[in-house]
Each structure stands twice: as C-alpha cells, then as structure tokens.
Point group: C2
Chain length 193, copies 2
DNA sequence: CGTCTATTTGAATGTACTCAAAAGCGGTGG
DNA sequence: CCACCGCTTTTGAGTACATTCAAATAGACG
C-alpha cells in the first residue's frame, strides 16, 4: 500500500477494519488533487460531487450572506474530511464555498463511487455513519456555544480546539468562524492582553 | 404488522425497503412508552441509551447554560427521532435534557439493539446514516442562520419550517430555539403586528 | 517596491439583554 | 366547575455587547 494512502487508511481504520483487498478497492476510487493557496474546490451554485480528505495544507468551507459577510462552517486541516453535505446528498446547487487556505493536497471520493462502495463493502457505510454522527455532535455543540457563550469565550474555545490553526489562519477567518466582525475581533484580542 | 408500528415503518421505508421478516425483527426491538406532559426522558448527567421515535405528542431536547438559560437543540413532533447524540454515541453523561412538552407516545430503540440491528440487517446502517446526514445538514443551516440572520428573520424561518409547532408551543420555547430571551421575543412579536 | 488586503483604532449606533413589576393564562385541586 | 396558584407573557427603563462606518497603519505577495 503506497504511503500516500497511509493517512486516509489510518483515518478509516480508527472505526472499521479493512483487508488489504478492501483497501485496494477503496484507494482505487480516490483521485489525488493539488490546490494552490486560495484555490476553490467548490463555489456557490456548483453541485458538490466529491468528499475531500485533506493530506496536507488546510481547506475551509464557508457561506456568504446577503451583506457579503463570510461565515465559516468548517475548517479542514490534514486528516479531516470536508464537503458541502447539503449539496452532496441532495445534488442541488451548493450554497457554500470550499477553498484552500494554503497550498494543499487532497484526495477526492465522488458521491457516485461512495454509493458503490457502500454496496460493495458495507463497512464503509458504517464508517461514514460514524463520521457523520461525530460531525453532528460537534455541530450541535457549536450551536449551543454560539447561543450561550460570549464572543470571548467562543474564541477561547476555538484556541483550545484548534491550537495549530490559531497561528496559521488570518484573524479575519477566525472571526468568521466564531461569528464576530474582524473589527470586533481585533478589539477583543487586544483587550485580552 | 400492527398499526402502532405503521408510522415508524413508513418513516424508515422512505429510505430503505424492508421485507416483512425484517420489519418483524426490527419492531421486536422496540419498546413503547408513554410520557406525561412535562415528563423527562433524559436529564443532564444521565447516559443516553435510547433513540426515541415520536408517535404522538411532542418532545424537545435542550441544554441549560451557566446562567440557567435554556437552549433548545431540537423539537421532535410525531414522525421524528430524538436523542442526545453526544451521549448516545460516546456513552458519556449527557449535557442535555429531553422532555415531553405534552403527553406523548414514543418508541424506544436501545443503542445496543441498534448496533445488533446494524450487523443483522446492514440496511439499517444505511437508514441511520441517511438520517444523520439530514440532521447534520439541518444543523449546519441553523448555525449559518444564527450567524447571519436577525432574530426577526430567524423567527420567520421558524414559522415556515414548523408551522404547526408555532401554535402549540409556549413562546418561551420558541425564543429558546431561535436564541433570544422571552422578553425580547415578546417585544419582537408585538412589533411585527 | 508598490499594491492590495488585513488589522487596528475610534466614535456613533443598534440590537438584544437584564432587571423589575404588572397582567394574563392555564392547569390542578378542591 | 370554579378559584386559586404558579408560570408565562407583556411592558418599560437602563445597559452591554457587538456592529457599522471611516480612516490610518501594518503586512504580505507578486
């Protein structure tokens, strides 16, 4: 098994076990792709046909509201999956954008191949069920945090959850994740020191 | 097949098809339970061992923050599933409460039986994957709405998404769902007419 | 090196919250 | 079936957290 698949296979084998043959069937479905800094994987209006797994770099998914403000739905550092789930499962035009924050290497699995995989190797259905359950839990917690915590506390949470990202991302994006304006974020940060 | 299972079987068969035998295996795992108005199905600190499917009445899941404010994570009218996903999948103490808003009839499926079902009839793994995917999408949209819409717009969204609930729920709970105080909600409503 | 974007800072504003008190309403028990 | 009690809703005044707009500064990339 080539090492370029090591990361994704380890990711999957945290929840299910695979034979070498199954690993081969799976990796044969993957397409590797490089993204330049700032390059889009998905733009609003496109139909999302792939789940992406990040090997290196960092992607993020965000939507733009009517006031042109960006709201970040998820960050995807290495070893994370990202997609616009709404568009992926409904095959309707996406309301999100997915973009590389820096030069990144990703593996793509098309929804069509994923569906085939579910039939061929039902364990993958299990894997993605578990993955989705975990996303849902994280998302619900984030929703509660947004409803009950102050911007300052949400920022502290963020630094705990994504310690690496804090130093690599522009402040603007952290602000867009925790749900404040860049101006307010700047003031908040200076007050904290 | 007894009609008391009609609703849940129809719910499931929207995404997978089942033979009569599979239906029987599944329904044999369900426990029926009645809840009185205001009764708790789950309280903070308990471990969530069941997914609940609502036959009649209405449940809701909510968490209480340090200022004793309630935040509603989900409503479950008839034909909906509800559980504390975090506690259910991690088997850690719950941070949520689940409660009946009015007298309700529910069917319970234990996590242990659910796991067995996934092995015995892999189609159920598919069903719950799809269900979880849909919850995730709804949750992400709600998060974005909370970040980008005013309280007034979130309320309008709510009335469109849950037209029935609007008239059956106390305002306090709608306020706790859209993320405003009951006082502000009241002022907002009077301003809208 | 120059340009473009991100960050900082300040002043004015607004949306939503807190606290308090009165009014309304519904469920429960007598 | 009515009356009471407790909870929900309303209303008002004062406040706070976060936004908007504007302008200056700093930083990053080509």
């Amino acid at each position: 098994m080539a090492n370029e698949y090591q990361l994704i296979l380890d990711n999957i084998c945290r929840y299910i076990s695979l034979t070498d043959e199954e690993k081969q069937i799976f990796t044969a479905l993957l397409t590797r792709r490089s993204l330049k800094r700032g390059e889009f994987l998905l733009t609003e209006g496109m139909i999302c046909r792939y789940s992406a797994f990040v090997l290196s770099g960092c992607l993020f998914g965000y939507s733009i509201d009517r006031d042109a403000a960006e709201h970040i739905v998820s960050f995807a550092p290495p070893d994370w999956w990202i997609a616009d789930m709404y568009s992926l499962i409904s095959q309707q035009p996406s309301t999100m954008n997915i973009r590389a924050h820096e030069a990144s290497e990703i593996l793509l699995l098309s929804r069509a191949d994923q569906e085939k995989l579910f039939i061929a190797i039902p364990k993958f259905e299990r894997f993605f069920r578990i993955l989705t359950e975990k996303s849902l839990v994280a998302n619900q917690q984030r929703l509660i945090d947004n409803l009950s915590l102050s911007a300052e506390e949400r920022y502290k949470n963020f630094t705990l959850r994504y310690p690496t990202l804090v130093h690599h991302l522009p402040q603007k994006q952290i602000a867009a994740y925790i749900g404040v304006t860049p101006e307010f974020f700047s003031k908040m940060k200076s007050k904290l020191s």
